[in-house]
């Protein structure tokens, strides 16, 4: 196999890093090792994901058989499903908590938390994060916020139910709906803690990438994964505090009688004292985070995909500089497009024009990325590992979902599809499914590094193909019921006979949703089984160039037993030829980053 490993295995236990005695608690629970923290994020995220997906299945069952009793509801929802018929408030609660869990707890913390933590130190050649302690605090804050969010499901009047966007006044007034009582308080507390966790994590990632790169690892030699994580962290630091301020102001409106978002309200036979606030202000604050959040979710997935597609194509990623520029452009533009969620919010239509313009601008770097992925596949030697399949799947759903964004981002066209199932289909494909594919791709690819064992590839294939078919089966037809003007967040559509002919399609979508959810069990089984019984992983199973594969199989706090490797090249020297037309390292089609330039090899200027 001509493995060029060199660095780690030859050296015995060298110093430069001292080993402290680890107890069970410091190793597995309050660990400060980024690798362990990453695994904690991953497993917490996957559990939250299972809950979130289960909720979506409950919603789908309700939509397929509106108002009909179901034993599953009776068993799972208890008093919220008297005689097995789901309560409308519970439907809205499911909508809300499903969205919250999937967006924040799975795709932000589960994806970025896992892979930023795991890969940043390993791929830039650092012993750990800049602050292992803050990193640990970040995870445990995340854990607490997750526990509070789950806990809120059990309060008497129900969990928050105003949609994951929690627009006031609905979210501010317990009179308006039961879920806006204690449930919403817990939601806000949970999110405030989550934001603190996210900020600690992000600051750590930024400092680590800037300061702790190993010798030779210039910014232009960083793998695209790191670029993506780095920029994601910056977006998080810029936008999450704004959500925190929105949450704080909302808490004040709810509990301390202020009127930031409330004005002129008559509810349950009484006029409220609130005067002068504006719900539209909340929408601005919320979406100032809410839109960048889409990219916080998506960029890490795209970074992971870049790495996996290059490795498995045995080709350099096409247009490295363009990819970096796209990431930066997307990051910048993502903070000035939030208004496209608010075209019909009542804000000044002129603002709508501005946001249409910026929104459609963001399609350009996105298109560049998609084309570059496709070109990377061209004339490659594609190794169809499960991670590669999920990466190709990501590009596919990213295109399908992204294209409909051109309709939604156009203020004129948004008028009639706003808040319909068309939107639901769009964002599930472009950010939900795509980011989940990124998560799965990352797990399949770095599982050997995380657990020193291989996942079963055949189960991986089954998982991918069932998910790929199911995801399109769910979300492609959904565009069409949206085009019919079917509003989202409706408990049932039976009050509008006009929608009667959509019922079959809704059932069809539900069947696909259930099948796809069940297909995830292949992953769960594979994941758990492989941790304990998987085949022992070779040092560099995918023959990858990045530094994480040079550590050897001992998991020590500090990553490399000996010296940290020095970097001599970028991460994408796959199938590179020397002047004689042979691979630069004879017999192997890749040249890892820590291998110095060979005779007769030119370094390309990237």
């Amino acid at each position: 196999m001509g493995q060029s490993m060199g660095v780690a295995t030859d050296h015995a236990h060298e110093d430069g890093h001292h080993h402290h005695k680890e107890t069970f608690v410091t190793k597995y629970i309050f660990s400060q090792d980024h690798k362990m923290i990453a695994k904690q994020y991953l497993i917490t995220g996957l559990i939250m994901g299972a809950i979130g997906i289960a909720m979506s299945v409950l919603m789908r069952i309700q939509l397929a058989n509106p108002g009909e009793p179901n034993v599953i509801f009776e068993a799972l929802l208890g008093k919220w499903a008297p005689d097995g018929i789901m309560d409308p408030n519970m439907y809205l609660a499911l909508v809300t908590i499903h969205g919250t869990i999937m967006v924040f707890f799975v795709l932000t913390a589960g994806l970025s938390g896992t892979f930023s933590n795991f890969l940043i130190p390993l791929q830039i050649g650092a012993r750990d994060m800049a602050s292992g302690f803050l990193n640990m605090v970040s995870y445990w804050l995340f854990f607490i916020s997750a526990a509070i969010m789950i806990g809120s499901l059990f309060v008497e009047l129900g969990p928050a139910a105003a949609g994951w966007t929690i627009y006031p006044p609905l979210s501010a007034l317990p009179e308006a709906m039961g879920g806006s009582g204690l449930g919403m308080t817990l939601w806000l507390v949970s999110m405030a803690i989550f934001i603190a966790s996210s900020l600690l994590g992000s600051l750590n990632y930024i400092v680590t990438v800037i300061n702790l790169r190993t010798k030779g690892m210039s910014m232009t030699r960083l793998p695209l994964t790191i670029w993506a994580f780095f920029v994601t962290a910056i977006i998080g630091v810029v936008s999450f505090p704004v959500l925190l301020s929105a949450a704080l102001l909302l808490i004040m409106d709810r509990s301390f009688g202020t009127s930031f978002f409330l004005s002129d309200i008559y509810i349950k036979g009484e006029v409220l004292a609130h005067q002068g606030g504006s719900p539209v202000l909340f929408e601005h604050l919320f979406w100032f985070l809410g839109h960048p959040e889409v990219y916080i979710v998506l960029l890490p997935a795209l970074g992971i995909t870049s790495e996996i597609i290059a490795t498995n194509s045995r080709k350099p990623i096409f247009g490295y500089r363009a990819m970096v520029a796209s990431i930066l452009a997307i990051a910048f533009l993502s903070t000035i497009v939030w208004g496209h969620h608010m075209f019909v919010s009542g804000m000044n239509p002129f603002l709508g024009s501005v946001f249409t313009f910026t929104t459609l601008l963001i399609a350009i770097p996105s298109a560049v990325k998609a084309f570059n992925y496709i070109t990377t596949l061209w004339k490659g030697n594609l190794q169809m590992n499960p991670a590669m399949l999920f990466s190709i799947g990501l590009v596919s759903t990213f295109i399908t979902g992204g294209l409909t964004g051109i309709i939604l981002g156009d203020s004129t066209l948004d008028i009639n599809v706003h808040d319909t199932y068309f939107v639901v289909a769009h964002f599930h494909l472009v950010m939900g499914i795509s980011a989940l594919y990124g998560l799965f791709a990352g797990v399949y690819h770095w599982f050997p590094k995380m657990f020193n064992r291989m996942m079963d590839k055949n189960l991986g294939y089954v998982h991918f193909w069932l998910t790929a078919i199911g995801a399109y089966g769910v979300f492609f037809p959904m565009h069409f019921i949206g085009m019919a003007g079917l509003p989202r967040r409706y408990y049932t559509n039976t009050n509008f006979p006009y929608f009667d002919d959509l019922a079959d399609t809704n059932s069809l979508i539900t069947y696909f949703a259930i099948a796809t959810a069940l297909a995830q069990l292949f992953f769960v089984y594979n994941f758990v089984k492989s941790i304990f019984y998987g085949k022992k992983a070779p040092a560099n199973p995918w023959k990858s160039n990045t530094l994480e594969w040079t550590t050897g199989d001992k998991h020590i706090h500090g990553n490399w037993e000996g010296e940290i490797p020095t970097v001599y090249r970028w991460a994408y020297d796959y199938s590179k030829l020397n002047e004689e037309g042979d691979y630069v390292i004879p017999g192997q089609d890749y040249a890892p980053q820590h291998i110095p330039l060979q005779d007769g090899e030119e370094e390309l200027n990237h």
Binding site: P88, L92, A162, L170, A176, D264, I267, V271, P279, V280, S313, K315, P316, I317, G346, P349, G352, S353, T356, L360, I364, A367, V368, A370, F371, L377, W378, K379, G380, N381, L382, Q383, M384, L403, T404, I406, I407, D410, L413, N416, D419, K457, N458, Y461, W465, Y472, F476, P477, A484, P487, T492, N493, N495, P497, Y498, D504, F512, K535, S575, H606
Partner: protein
């Protein structure tokens, strides 16, 4: 058609499961148990490459099937003046999107098949091509610029809520969970209103001291004369709602504490809209479904469903609480004469107050 689609998709699903089981078998069969046995080998590459090709073909078929099978899901021609413009822009954008979709998905999956890994196959070291990248940056720029420009011109036209053409001013009032309509009466000016005036019969909070409000009329249905511009003023008494009138391509959020607006001109009366070929066919289909369902209901000893007749509607499209899913009001577009006759039957705010006192 839907039944056919379901069967078709189920068949595809079955085929894929069968294929997958084959992969699993093939993957397991002769291979020696080496260190790398969980890394894709040539057989996996080939098999999955073929699956990619099959997948994109199935995807094309699905897309075509959806566009054909679901064509009557698309909303019928708009019943408003700006709606035609909207529909044209939507059509153009959809065509552009679908062209890009078909091309890129085709390339993505075809390359995945064509270049699946083989032992000894050499990948091309191809890291950059400025010209290529320039081209595919420029193409989206040009296409999007076109779409943006058209979109922005339409947007400005649609959102321009001036009163030069003497529109009828109508207030649409939202509450948990229903709508009311306030007509501005002969003066065409809505009287001042605030939730703090809500009392007794004055459930929209019209200022009783404002003379402009005396001739206002509150109604439970939204009647509009055909071919006259209408300026809607939206007001909510409690939480956010959204007034969505899909057949007029009109939507605006209803925000407590402020008045939002939208202006459009209805161009097709309810009667004419009902009798279009599209709508008669759609209603026939819906009634077929309802008859089927009613049969089942009667068998279960329950009340059958009423047959359906199309009416324009306005529905709530912003999550607003428990009964969000049933917050609607009927819209009637009629001739100017019918509209005036209907309006004459409504009571003015002044009369309402007087009646309440008696």
């Amino acid at each position: 058609m839907t039944a056919f689609l379901i069967i078709f998709i189920a068949a595809l699903f079955a085929v894929s499961i069968w294929q997958i089981s084959k992969i699993v078998k093939l993957g397991k069969a002769p291979e020696p148990d080496t260190e790398l046995s969980e890394v894709a080998n040539d057989k996996d590459n080939k098999r999955n490459g073929q699956m990619m090709l099959a997948f994109v073909v199935a995807m094309y078929i699905m897309m075509i099937a959806c566009f054909i099978g679901y064509q009557d899901f698309f909303l019928p021609d708009a019943g408003s003046e700006h709606g035609a413009e909207y529909d044209n822009l939507l059509l153009l954008t959809t065509v552009v999107i679908m062209i890009v979709q078909v091309l890129t998905q085709g390339l993505l999956h075809y390359f995945s098949y064509k270049y699946h890994g083989k032992k000894g196959q050499r990948a091309l070291f191809y890291a950059d091509n400025d010209r290529l990248e320039f081209i595919w940056t420029a193409i989206p720029v040009v296409v999007l610029a076109g779409l943006i420009l058209w979109g922005l011109f339409s947007w400005n036209d649609i959102m321009e809520a001036d009163t030069d053409d003497n529109p009828i001013v109508v207030e649409v009032y939202a509450y948990q969970f229903g709508w009311k309509v306030r007509y501005s009466g002969e003066d065409n000016i809505l009287g001042d209103a605030n939730v703090r005036f809500i009392e007794g019969v004055n459930d929209l909070g019209i200022d009783p001291t404002d003379v402009d409000g005396k001739d206002d009329m509150v109604a439970q249905e939204l009647h509009l004369p055909v071919n006259r511009p209408v300026l809607f003023k939206f007001r909510s008494q409690d939480v956010l709602h959204s007034a969505y009138m899909p057949h007029f391509r009109a939507q605006m959020n209803v925000v407590p504490g402020m008045v939002t607006q939208f202006k459009f001109t209805p161009t097709v009366t309810s009667e004419d809209y009902k009798s279009t070929e599209y709508m008669t066919e759609k209603v026939r289909k819906i009634n077929e479904i309802r008859r089927q369902k009613s049969k089942e209901l009667i068998d279960d000893g329950e009340v059958p469903l009423d047959p359906y007749e199309f009416e324009y509607y306005l529905l709530c499209n912003k999550i607003c609480g428990e009964s969000h899913y049933n917050m609607q009001i009927k819209i009637v577009v009629e001739s100017d004469e019918d509209y005036q006759n209907w309006l004459d039957t409504q009571t003015t705010f002044e009369e309402t107050l007087a009646n309440a006192e008696n």
